[in-house]
Amino acid sequence: MLDKVPPSGIRKFFDLIASMDDVISLGVGEPDFATPWHITETAIRSLEQGLTMYTSNCGMLELRQEVAGHLKATYGVEYDPETEVLITNGVSEGVDLAMRAVIDPGDEILIPDPSYVAYPACVLFAGGQPVWVPTSCDSEFRLRPEDVGVRITERTKGLLMGYPSNPTGAVMELSDLAKIADVAERHDLVVISDEIYSLMVYGTEPNCFASLPGMRDRTIVLGGFSKAYAMTGWRIGYAAGDSRFIGAMTKIHQYTALCAPIMGQVAALEALRAGAEEAGKMLEEYDRRRRVVIKGFNEIGLNCFEPRGAFYAFPSIVSTGLTSEQFAERLLLEEKVAVVPGTAFGPSGEGHVRVCYATSISNIEEALKRITLFVKRCRSKKRARD
């Protein structure tokens, strides 16, 4: 089964970059900000006080209560912090636990294509079969209910999706989600909704799949701290859902992870209690960069729909005549700008590259200049060939 999971598609780029200097990377999937200082400071204090032990398997009760409070206040969904919330080692562990808890051998799990790389891998590790549901730039990479519907078989167990999306930056509005909810209801699907970027939306409101009528009890919500609070290294996430899911996930988690790190949990608690202001400032800064990136790519003629979430844009590179992989590799070698080929995230990523704008405006502007030169060269070569 391990053989079915290909090595990560970016290893090659990683090694290349390591051998070069002066690379501008638009290929980083994490915030460029350090964790807000009040959060770090709270964790330092807790270490000084000797909080260096295990916590309860499910995580500190205070943190679970705060998570439940956050979900209720933001989306109106209620969870019992005692039995319906689990603190995990990042959303990464949450995805793995959810798959192991939900999948019986041979079960099929639907996944929007392209998606975060861990989704199909975790389905395979859990003995399931990932089934891609293509999305495309015509529908701004939203998941369409008809595309889900036609891929349902008697083996389909559930749908694993993440919006706002890594790699596309696409968001699903509540009205889009409602149509997916109908399909889930009709075919009795479990929905695993990775909402790690849920607070990072621009010009629209955060939403939660479990808040849709009838969805709470068939949904596992995965939430995190890595992105919105710039806390990737702290390794904290959470899962919320009906106790039959959370109970099963907790059982696996207690034997394989025991608990999430206490210093991370203390920091996450501070983030939920007092992190909104700093998170808001970071979001404003991302929004400015987002606008610069979209305008920049569209001016270069690499069409880019307006991504309204996370910190990614997913421009089309078809007009250069290159594949995603060729584009990324040659851009890196010739102009020292790193982007990730769309195909690293699934076959429907072909023709696109993922651009992360979690970097300074001056880096973005310099990268756009270099990409302009590169694309001009590609086009004149293409014309010569045609």
């Binding site: 970059i17 994490e30 460029d32 606008r291 610069v292």
Partner: protein, 159 residues
């Protein structure tokens, strides 16, 4: 509108066109906002934070606490003006607490600064005492961290 100023505060070279892109506000409106703020001196000045030492120029800075006697009618302001008019004084603040004026004074050498204090500042009528603190190292100024260690520590590519 606040966004326009926040962007300029971070980088005063950002052009109105760039600000328009970043905020979605039309260029003409951005220009109006900036012009109005310049006229009202809400935007006081555009300046550059330099590390003169890297440019090979010696520079000595001192924080100076000054206790002064307030005067009838004009309070602290008249004497403060006598002090802040000196070109050596880079910043001047009236403060609460154990002293009255907090100054940042600049000179080429420590002697320059010492001479300024001894010959210009201390003898002024109404100045009751001064305490001079020479700056040894600049860690952070106007929100910018100046010491190294601020480079990007992330892995160059992550999913």
């Amino acid at each position: 509108m606040k966004q326009v100023f926040e962007i300029l505060e971070k980088d005063s070279r950002t052009t109105p066109e760039e600000i328009a892109t970043m905020t979605g506000i039309p260029v003409a409106e951005v220009e109006d906002i900036i012009n109005k703020a310049e006229r009202e001196r809400a935007i006081v000045k555009y300046k550059t934070i330099l590390d003169w030492r890297k440019l090979g120029e010696a520079e000595v800075l001192a924080l100076i606490e000054v206790r002064i006697q307030p005067q009838m009618d004009v309070g602290f302001d008249a004497l403060a003006e006598r002090v802040y008019r000196f070109p050596q004084v880079r910043s001047a603040y009236l403060v609460s607490g154990g002293y009255d004026l907090a100054l940042v004074v600049q000179g080429k050498t420590m002697h320059d600064v010492a001479d300024f204090v001894a010959e210009k500042l201390a003898p002024l009528q109404g100045v009751q005492g001064t305490v001079t603190h020479f700056l040894l190292k600049r860690y952070k100024e106007d929100g910018e961290i100046l010491v190294s260690g601020e480079e990007d520590k992330r892995l160059p590519i992550t999913m």
